[in-house]
């Protein structure tokens, strides 16, 4: 772990530096307009830089502005407040996790069916793959509207969109994992006259565990994207998606960027959490060489 901190930090610093340069460059034209209207000429370069980084509605807010906004909307607001980012993150996180759990279970279930039935392998797998070629932005409003028409609203429709995105990597990963036992291990089970169920529980499933964790890492990140996309057509009531949409309605770039940064931090933490779970599980299985 300690070996990766340094390089990651260097890249982070580089990103921040590029961000500052880009913010100055993008906000400078508007700032020059302001100076021109106020009749100010010969503004020192340093002041121009300072002013471009402190605009109220910048085209590209500076990292400091985003950090201040995040601090302001997390620490300085009550969690129950509509303006608290923690509140919105919580809303998004709940549908992310619900959708992720459903997607993972669905993915495992489909993989088990596909691995055990040639017919389902031929008939189901093409549909599983083509399901991901449809743009999620097109599907999301339909799911929200259709479910709303039959009286289901709130968390579940958003979670369904997360499910839709997260079941796919799990299905593909688990099909690969459940098929990965070596021939010699399958022959061994045959010499014991093991049933298909025994072969599944005692050989295929443990073999697939590393594959499951790898696909869950992809799945949970996709789940978060699904939850945010699912919040857009609901009219931006609550959630990180709502913050993004409201921000773009009112030209609040600082709000959009802070929601974006929080979303990526959340995604990173979720993936790291799955990574920890993976480490603990493999250690318990004696496969943590």
């Amino acid at each position: 772990m300690s070996g990766t901190v340094g390089p990651v930090l260097v890249v982070l610093l580089a990103i921040v530096a590029i961000w500052y340069v880009a913010a100055v460059a993008l906000n400078a034209p508007f700032q020059r307009d302001i100076y021109a209207r106020a009749g100010q000429t010969d503004v020192p370069f340093l002041q121009l830089v300072n002013d471009t980084l402190a605009q109220e509605r910048p085209i590209l807010p500076s990292p400091a502005q985003v950090a201040v906004e995040i601090w302001d909307t997390t620490v300085n607001k009550k969690i129950t407040s509509n303006r608290s980012l923690i509140y919105h993150t919580g809303i998004t996180l709940s549908s992310t996790l619900t959708g992720f759990v459903m997607g993972t279970l669905l993915g495992i279930g489909l993989a088990v069916l596909v691995v055990h039935s040639r017919v389902l392998d031929k008939s189901l797998m093409p549909w599983v793959i083509s399901s991901q070629t449809i743009p999620i932005l097109a599907i999301a409003p339909m799911i929200i509207v259709v479910l709303n028409a039959i009286g289901i609203s709130g968390l579940i429709p958003k979670a369904m969109i997360s499910t839709y995105l997260s079941f796919f990597p799990v299905t593909v990963g688990m099909v690969k994992g459940l098929r990965s036992p070596e021939l010699i291990h399958l022959d061994l089970m045959r010499t014991y006259s093991a049933s298909r169920a025994e072969t599944f529980w005692k050989l295929r499933l443990p073999y697939a565990v590393p594959y499951l964790f790898a696909s869950m890492k992809v799945g949970i990140a996709a789940s978060l994207v699904g939850a945010i996309v699912g919040e857009l057509p609901t009219g931006a009531v609550a959630g990180l998606g709502a913050r993004l949409l409201a921000g773009s309605y009112y030209g609040q770039m600082v709000q959009i960027w802070s929601a974006l940064v929080v979303a990526s931090v959340v995604a990173g933490s979720l993936v790291a959490l799955i990574g920890l779970l993976e480490k603990a599980t493999l250690a318990k299985m004696g496969m943590n060489r």
Partner: protein, 275 residues
């Protein structure tokens, strides 16, 4: 002698008089894109209870295929085969044999004891019986004290011994071994040969053993089957007159060398048209 007599129990299907394995005019042809491959052709072989039989021959002679036919892992295309008077499939379903593969094939997520327990769980034995069999067979292969280790913590030779313990734990009267020591170095191999010989002498099991090594085959066997390739067939069957009780020193005796010579001649003759 007493222990051997105690461990000896009659075959379950009352077919005691007959051979454990009875093969008549057996052939196996694989269909491939380049046309049929005659893996086995016209095999006739009888293996009696308590025999230690080695299949020896160059690569591609069908020795592993023949073992897999006995184990019902391959299906013959012609001829007749009976294992304990049953079809190989019935024998497999009755768990009549233990099979040791070329590689140890231990499950990495199970401890050594857990690996030995695997077939016992599938057989539906209760925990007490499982414990007893694990303890007994771990001791038999000299792995006592390694129960809680994971496979990767053991050397290759120890892993293969664990896989033998796993096969023995089923308590089969027939042990099928496919080049079990092929991947091990000479010193470990000698040691395991000695242990396997003692195990066989102690338990009076019938063993069918596939190998590349002439000294290994002659040292272990009461009967040596020399196979030759294209098509895979039996070239010679040698009944060894070496005493049942032997030590590794026997490999220096004229009797041993005589048998080894006949095996070598068989392998040479079976191979000659190839060059």
């Amino acid at each position: 002698m007493n222990t051997a007599a105690q461990l000896y129990t009659p075959a379950p299907h009352g077919d005691r008089a007959g051979p454990v394995i009875d093969i008549e005019k057996l052939s196996l042809t694989f269909a491939t894109n380049d046309g049929p491959v005659h893996a086995l052709s016209n095999i006739d072989l009888k293996i009696d209870e308590g025999d230690f039989v080695s299949f020896i021959g160059p690569s591609g002679c069908g020795k592993t295929t023949l073992l897999r036919v006995i184990a019902d892992l391959e299906q013959p295309t012609a001829g007749r085969i009976a294992v304990n008077g049953m079809s190989p499939e019935e024998a497999r379903l009755n768990r009549a044999y233990g099979y040791v593969f070329q590689a140890a094939a231990l499950y990495p997520w199970r401890t050594i004891a857990g690996n030995v327990a695997l077939p016992l769980e599938i057989m539906g034995l209760d925990a007490k019986e499982r414990e007893a069999r694990i303890a007994r067979n771990m001791e038999l292969v000299n792995l006592k004290g390694f129960e809680k280790k994971f496979p990767w913590q053991l050397s290759g030779g120890m892993q293969q011994r664990a896989s033998i313990a796993r096969a023995l734990a089923v308590e089969p009267k027939l042990l099928l071994m496919d080049e079990p020591f092929g991947a091990l170095d000479e010193i470990v191999r000698d040691h395991l040969n000695d242990q396997l010989h003692q195990l066989w002498a102690k338990t009076n099991k019938t063993v069918v053993f596939v190998t590349h090594s002439i000294p290994e085959a002659v040292y272990l066997s009461t009967k040596i089957v020399v196979l030759c390739p294209r098509p895979g067939r039996i070239y010679d069957i040698i009944d060894s007159d070496l005493p049942r009780q032997r030590t590794l020193d026997i490999r220096e005796t004229p009797e041993f060398l005589k048998v080894a010579h006949r095996v070598r001649e068989g392998l040479k003759a079976g191979h000659s048209y190839d060059d």
